[in-house]
């Protein structure tokens, strides 16, 4: 439940401000992002961190809506930070900052709790648009990642694995279209829904992947428990 003062502030200030925190070790990139965020009227830069140590304190403190997180940090992996943030249970949207959006990195981050990614070379306006988009409930996805997700989330039926959150028919349909190279807008047209709906589906797919990966981790742990007891 929102704090009454916050509600008031939102009412007073028109559309709600998006509070953003940045974890990025490259000072130029961090600076670039920070200035871009501060330059947006609807965004508020609440904190920045240059490494895992700083970021951990920042995550404990909280107080942001969107967390932009680099993965290759000098003292560790951003994936652990993403997991830490996801496990707080706050309604934070986590975006990975990446150069290539290659599937291993992005999928690891999504399994940990990320809901999308920013490409470092994207025009800064596009980056800010992605932040707004994620806040509205939409996530980006590339065909190769969609393809990989299809394989992940619909695994071999012969292997008994807990599927904590199976995809809905519609989500599967969306993922299938995306893996075949259709853009969000094209998917929306084919399925006769709005572009936002597609974004929401993708975000939900990401969320299910995270839940499943957590269930799978638990399952692995319990299986190993069984074996060691035997």
């Amino acid at each position: 439940m929102a704090h009454p003062f916050e509600t008031k502030r939102v009412q007073a200030g028109g559309p709600p401000m998006i509070r953003v925190a940045v974890v990025e070790d490259d000072p130029v990139m961090r600076d670039h992002l920070s200035r871009a965020i501060e330059g947006c009227e609807d965004m508020l830069l609440t904190a920045t961190a240059a490494n895992v140590a700083e970021a951990e304190g920042m995550i404990e403190a909280g107080g942001y809506d969107v967390l932009l997180c680099d993965l290759g940090l000098p003292d560790g992996s951003g994936v652990s930070l993403i997991r830490k943030e996801a496990l707080t249970g706050r309604d934070t949207d986590i975006l990975v900052i990446t150069v290539f959006a290659n599937q291993n990195k992005v999928l690891d981050a999504i399994r940990a709790g990320a809901r999308g990614y920013l490409l470092k070379d994207e025009r800064i306006e596009d980056c800010m648009a992605a932040v707004r988009e994620i806040r509205r409930g939409g996530s980006p996805i590339s065909p190769i990642i969609a393809r990989q997700l299809l394989g992940e989330i619909r695994p071999d039926p012969n292997v008994p694995r807990p599927m904590a959150s199976p995809l809905s028919e519609r989500e599967y349909e969306v993922l299938n279209l995306l893996s075949r190279g259709f853009s969000n807008a094209e998917c929306a047209e084919i399925l006769t829904v709005s572009g936002n709906t597609i974004g929401t589906h993708i975000k939900n797919i990401y969320r299910k992947l995270e839940v499943n990966s957590r269930a799978e981790a638990l399952f692995e742990a319990s299986s190993q428990g069984w074996f060691s007891r035997g």
């Binding site: 490259d26 990139m29 290659n102 994207e122 393809r147 075949r180 094209e186």
Partner: protein, 627 residues
Amino acid sequence: MRLVLLILLLLLTPGAVRAQALNTFTSSPAEGGPVIEFKDGDFVLAAGLDVPDRGWVRAPSPHIYRMFETRWRTGDYHTVQGRFRFDRGALGADPLALYTASTRNQFIVFVNGAEVFRNFARVSDQKLAWYRPFLVPLPEGALKPGVNEIVIRAVSQESVGVGRVIVGPNAVVQDFYQAQYFWQITAPMAANAAMLALGGLAVLLWMGRRREVELLWLALAAGLWFLRNYQYFAEVTPFDLALFNALTVYATYFATVATTAFYATFLKMPHREPVIAALFALGLPIMAIHATFSLSNLILYVPATLIGLGGALLGLLDLRRDRTTGHVLLALVVLLMPFAGVYDFLLAGGGDGWNTNDAYLTVFSGCIYCVAFLIVFGKRALDAFAGLEAANATLEQRIAETRAELAASEASRRDLVVAGAIASERERLMREMHDGIGSNLITALAVARQQKQPDSTIKTLSRALADLKITVDSLEPVEGDLVALIGNLRHRMAGDLRDAGIACRWEVGRCGPLPWLDATNALHVLRIFQEAIGNVLSHSGATEMRIGCGEEMRDGIPGIAAHVADNGRGFDDARADRPGKGLGNIAARARALHGVLDCRSSAEGGTLVTLWLPYDRAPVARDQEAG
């Protein structure tokens, strides 16, 4: 006076007068003269070595006299003499022979008062002759023209008697004798010897397979049947006569019980053990009563017959249930046994004695039983061998399969190791590109933009970064999925297209995976499309671009055709700004892919670049080499 004397003589010695008369017989013609079988004879119960003149009594033959041990004490000597008179003239001129059966037990044959044959060597010989045929050649010297007299003197310590008597040409009588001897002596002896051997074999088999208790029952039955049947073919009593007789009678009962026990065990009848034990136990009081009160043998034969009928009933029930060879065979045998019993009972005149002519059947039944079972057992053994061979074959096949699986899993393990090594190397390279070159390029680009460096600098940096991204994308494992690969490129370039104001249409059909699409080939494909899309962006002046792929056959070879088309200025070789170098590059890449690149005007008036790639590159590679 003489007449009175004659009458007196006749009154005083009626036997003597009648003794002068010939005995009646039936005559049947044969080669060498007729064969006669006496229909009556005279007997006298007189001990001693002489042939008495008086006291002869005429009686029908065969069996002019016969006495059973139940009427006389076994062990005492009993003697009977039988006399048969015939006219030599009624028979042919050939040498004659006498045939007799059931004349027992020791006997001597006299012709006209002279001894011509005795069936014993010593008086102590305990001969068994009740079922045995004898051939006695009648020496021509002993015979005389006219009336001849044959006297048979029989002595026995039990049943005594003179059985069937036949006289005829030696050759004919001997043939008859041999046939009778075969069926009454040789065949039963052989059958029972075989049965005993099979019983021994059953014991040996049982020692190897202790669970097959029916083998033991069979062996026991064989032994008991042999004991019971010994009297038919034995020449002498092997031990004390009274005991031998008793054992012969009692063995009948126990042999029947053992046979039934065997059959019940073979059929796996429920609750058979107590029933078998009870039947064996029942034999003991019957034996005791029979011995104590010298009762008829029937008190043993009747229950034995009832038990045999019970076995036959089991056989009938089993026939309805199980029609396999073994079961049918044994059922038929147990069904036949009561018939043989009834036949033999009738043959024995219901206990009065053998008809002296026809062979008994039950003497063979034990052997038939053993043979039938051993056929069953042998078949079972053969089936087991066949099963074993099949099992061996299956086992070998399983071993081969397992070996193949092991080899396959070892191969896949090695593949995994290799794949793991490749993946970790790729990971290392990726990290290098991402955190090293990539990050530096990004930073450089950001700095250049911030510092408002010349467009050419920014473009060069952008292109370098774009190239690097394409290289990274080519390394993504897509399992030959061309659609995802091109889709990803289009996704990457969506921003540039939007900025250039070019609408993009994605036209994709169903495509199967290209099995040969590894990282190197993926990079060729991506470079070709990057170049084609780049041309649309920078040269065409188009407002719309179509990009996509679908299955297409070329020269009978299935493959995928991917295309980029625009509605721009169109393809013009003469145009100066056409980047010929780029086009040459992508043509070379298409050849490296064993694909076909095609650039021409599109339907919209712009350019259409098509890249056709075969699913299977082998035939295309051959064509290219040949071309």
